[in-house]
C-alpha cells in the first residue's frame, strides 16, 4: 500500500495503481474522456489534469502511477484554469446540439462544462463541419461533429471484440471516426460503444429520439435472455395518462459477471418485455376479468388435486422454484422443468453469450427439480391438468395423444381455444427474484416496475394458494431458502455482493 495526499486528505491505495483509478475509487470526481476502466489509459484527451507537488507542469492522472508521499491537488484556481482551457479546445468545433442530442443529460462534456467551464465563447471563425447522421451499422449512429476523438470506441473494437471495425480517419481538425471503406460495424456487442462514448457522437438508433434521459427511472435488474445473467439497468418511464414503458436496457457494472458490457441481443430484449405488459386474462381464447380468471385457476387446481402437472420454465426465480416445490409437495403435484428448446448453439460465444438460454436452470439440480424428457413424459401420462408456468409452449402438450386441460400462468403470449385458462402474471421486469448464473454466481434482480393492469406476480398467486401470504423475496429467503442445504451459507443481504456457490 502507498499513501498519498489528495486535496489535503490522506488516502491509501495499492501500489502500481494509476492515479486516476486511485482518485475515482475514493469518489473524487476527475474529468476524463479517453480513460475507461475496461479499456485502460490512452492519454489523448488531457482532460484529467491534476497538480502534483514537485512537478513543474500539471500532469494527466490517467498516465501517472501513484507514489508514496505524492501530494496531489485536483481543485483550485490554477488547475481549474487548465481544465477550462482544455474544455474550450474540445468545444472549438463542437456543434453544441444539446437540444437534439440524445446524450444530453448524461453527457460528460455537458457535465464538465457545468463544473469547470462556464466561459464566454471567444470563437470568431466558423466551426469545422462533419457528417451528422452516419449509420455505422449495428444500430449505432455517428455524429462526427460531436466526437471528442477519445478513441474509446476504436479501442473497444480492438481490445474487447477484436473485430477492428472502427478507426480514426484523416488528420488534424478533420480527424473523424469511421468504419473502414465498405465495412460496417458488425459484431454482437457493438452497441456497447454507445455507452462507452462519453458524448453524443455515438448514439443508439433504437433509442433515437425516444425519450429525454432525465425522464427515465433506472432499476437494477438481471438480464434473463441467457445463462450469463448480465447485470443491467432497466430504464423506464410512465408518461402522464400513459402506462409504464421500458425504453432501454443498459449494462450495469458487475466485475464478476459482465464487467461493463452486455450483448446487443440482451440489450434489445426490452422490446419483448414491453410487448408483454398488455397481456390479458383469457378463458378458452376469450378475454376475461382478472379476478374471475384467478378464481378459475383456484377452482381448477382444486378439481384436479393429485392429477396435476406443473410444467415450469427454468428461467423462473429461485424464490418461485422454492414456493412451487412447496406447493407441489403439499398437494402431490408433479413438477417438471423439461424444456426442449433450452440450448441454442448459434447464440453462444466465448465472451458473454451462452448457448444455454435459461436464466436459472442451475438452480434445478440444487433443488432436485426434474428437467429430463423421460420425467416429463411419465408425469404427462398421469396428469389431467397441465399448468404451464412462466412459459407458453402449449404445442408440447397439445400434441400429446390424450386430451388434457391446459392452464398457462405466464407474463403473456399466444393463447388459443384449447387453453382452458391464460392468467397473466408479472413479467421479468415486474417482479423481483434471485437467479444463479452459468458459473454459479447468485444474483438478485430488484426491478419491480409497477403494473397498471392489476395483474399479480406468481409469488402472490402462490402465496394465496399456500395461505401463508409470503410474497416478498426477502421473506422467502429468510424463512425457506436459507434452510436448504446449498444455500445455507448465504443470506438475502449477501446477494448484493454477487456471492458464488458450487454447482
Amino acid at each position: 500500500m502507498v499513501s498519498l495526499s489528495v486535496d489535503g486528505k490522506r488516502i491509501e491505495v495499492r501500489e502500481n495503481t494509476l492515479l486516476i483509478e486511485a482518485l475515482l475509487s475514493q469518489g473524487i470526481s476527475i474529468p476524463h474522456f479517453c480513460y475507461h476502466p475496461a479499456l485502460g489509459k490512452d492519454g489523448n484527451c488531457r482532460m484529467c489534469m491534476v497538480e502534483i507537488e514537485g512537478q513543474k507542469r500539471p500532469q494527466i492522472a490517467c498516465d501517472t502511477l501513484v507514489k508514496e508521499g505524492m501530494v496531489v491537488r485536483t481543485k483550485g484556481e490554477k488547475i481549474d484554469r487548465v481544465k477550462r482551457s482544455i474544455l474550450e479546445m474540445e468545444l472549438i468545433n463542437h456543434p453544441i446540439d444539446c437540444p437534439i442530442c440524445d446524450q444530453a443529460g448524461e453527457c460528460s462534456l455537458q457535465n464538465y462544462y457545468m463544473d469547470v467551464g462556464l466561459y464566454e465563447s471567444r470563437l470568431t471563425t466558423p466551426k469545422v463541419r462533419g457528417k451528422k447522421h452516419v449509420d455505422l451499422g449495428a444500430n449505432v449512429v455517428l455524429d462526427q461533429e460531436r466526437c471528442v476523438l477519445c478513441t474509446r470506441c476504436v479501442r473497444f473494437t480492438e481490445k474487447i471484440t477484436k473485430t477492428h471495425e472502427l478507426g480514426v480517419l484523416s488528420r488534424g481538425d478533420h480527424s473523424v471516426i469511421d468504419t473502414f471503406p465498405g465495412e460496417k460495424l458488425n459484431n454482437p456487442y457493438a452497441m456497447n460503444v454507445v455507452d462507452l462514448c462519453p458524448v453524443g457522437a455515438l448514439t443508439s438508433k433504437d433509442f433515437r429520439f425516444a425519450k429525454r434521459v432525465w425522464f427515465l427511472q433506472s432499476e437494477k435488474a438481471i438480464c434473463n435472455r441467457c445463462a450469463r445473467g448480465c447485470s443491467i439497468f432497466v430504464d423506464h418511464h410512465k408518461e402522464k395518462y400513459g402506462s409504464e414503458k421500458i425504453y432501454r436496457y443498459r449494462p450495469r457494472l458487475n466485475e464478476a459477471i459482465n464487467g461493463y458490457f452486455i450483448c446487443d441481443a440482451g440489450r434489445l430484449s426490452y422490446a419483448h418485455e414491453n410487448a408483454l405488459f398488455d397481456a390479458q386474462a383469457m378463458i378458452r381464447g376469450k378475454v376475461s376479468e382478472y379476478d374471475y380468471a384467478e378464481g378459475k385457476w383456484l377452482r381448477l387446481l382444486k378439481r384436479y388435486l393429485g392429477k396435476t402437472l406443473f410444467l415450469i420454465s427454468s428461467s423462473l426465480g429461485l424464490e418461485e422454484f422454492v414456493r412451487l416445490q412447496k406447493l407441489a409437495k403439499l398437494y402431490d403435484i408433479a413438477l417438471s422443468a423439461y424444456e426442449p428448446d433450452r440450448f441454442d448453439d448459434r447464440f453462444g460465444d466465448t465472451f458473454l453469450k451462452c448457448a444455454d438460454r435459461s436464466a436459472n436452470a442451475r438452480a434445478l439440480p440444487l433443488l432436485g427439480i426434474d428437467d429430463t424428457q423421460e420425467g416429463f413424459q411419465k408425469a404427462l401420462q398421469n396428469a389431467e391438468l397441465i399448468v404451464l408456468i412462466g412459459r407458453h409452449d402449449v404445442a408440447l402438450i397439445l400434441d400429446a395423444p390424450c386430451r388434457k386441460s391446459v392452464v398457462v400462468l405466464d407474463a403473456g403470449g399466444m393463447t388459443c381455444e384449447e387453453v382452458e385458462l391464460m392468467l397473466p402474471v408479472a413479467s421479468h421486469t415486474q417482479k423481483e427474484g434471485t437467479y444463479i448464473n452459468v458459473e454459479g454466481y447468485v444474483q438478485y434482480s430488484a426491478c419491480m416496475i409497477a403494473n397498471d393492469k392489476g395483474r399479480k406476480s406468481l409469488l402472490e398467486l402462490l402465496g394465496t394458494v399456500l395461505g401463508d401470504g409470503m410474497v416478498r423475496a426477502q421473506e422467502i429467503w429468510e424463512e425457506e431458502i436459507v434452510r436448504l442445504e446449498p444455500f445455507q451459507n448465504l443470506s438475502f443481504a449477501m446477494l448484493s455482493s454477487t456471492p458464488r456457490i458450487v454447482l
Binding site: 446540439d97 444539446c98 437540444p99 437534439i100 444530453a104 451528422k132 447522421h133 433515437r208 429520439f209 425516444a210 429525454r212 432525465w214 425522464f215 408518461e239 402522464k240
Partner: protein, 165 residues
C-alpha cells in the same frame, strides 16, 4: 419536527363581538358605492364581452403558438425543455426524425392541454429555439368539449402573433 406556536388574536371583548369590525368594513363599501353611483363613468369595469379589453400588452401571456423558421418549417426541435419546465405537465411531445432536411429532430405530436395549463410562461422561458411563444393575445378560449382545449401541433403552428396596435 419543529413546532411553531402562533398566538391567536382577538382576545379582547371588542374583537370577540365582531360587529365593530364588520361595520368598519361596511363603511368602506358604502363609501365606494355612493362615490361610484354619483359618477358612473369613473367605474373601473367595462361590459365584457360587448366591450373588449384594450390593454393587452405585448408581454401578455395568451394562448401559445409554435413559431416557424424563415422557410416556413417548424422551429421546434422537440427538445422537451418546455415539457420539462412546465409545472402543470400539460405539454405532450413525441419526437421524430426530421424529413425536410432542415435539422435532425422535430415533433410528431405537440399537444398543450389548456385546461391544465396555468399560463405561467415557463415553457416560453425554457425554449432554447424561440419556438414557443404566448404572444397571440388570446385571453379567452372557448370550447364545447374537453378535447377542444387540447391544442395540437397544427393548431399551434397556424396561430399568429397578435398584431401590434
Amino acid at each position: 419536527m419543529g413546532v411553531k406556536i402562533v398566538q391567536r388574536h382577538g382576545k379582547t371583548l371588542r374583537e370577540k363581538l365582531y360587529l365593530p369590525a364588520i361595520f368598519g368594513g361596511m363603511k368602506t363599501t358604502l363609501r365606494h358605492f355612493t362615490a361610484n353611483l354619483s359618477d358612473t363613468p369613473q367605474i373601473k369595469t367595462f361590459s365584457y364581452p360587448e366591450e373588449q379589453p384594450q390593454d393587452i400588452t405585448e408581454r401578455y401571456r395568451g394562448v401559445h403558438r409554435l413559431t416557424k423558421r424563415e422557410d416556413g418549417s417548424v422551429r421546434c426541435v422537440a427538445c422537451f425543455m418546455c415539457a420539462t419546465a412546465c409545472p402543470a405537465e400539460c405539454i405532450f411531445i413525441e419526437a421524430q426524425e426530421r424529413e425536410d432536411g432542415v435539422d435532425e429532430k422535430m415533433p410528431r405530436r405537440f399537444d398543450i392541454d389548456l385546461l391544465e395549463c396555468v399560463f405561467c410562461g415557463a415553457c416560453v422561458e425554457a425554449c432554447p429555439c424561440d419556438a414557443i411563444r404566448m404572444d397571440s393575445g388570446i385571453f379567452s378560449f372557448i370550447g364545447k368539449k374537453r378535447e377542444d382545449f387540447i391544442q395540437t401541433k397544427e393548431q399551434l403552428l397556424a396561430r399568429e402573433a397578435k398584431e401590434n396596435r
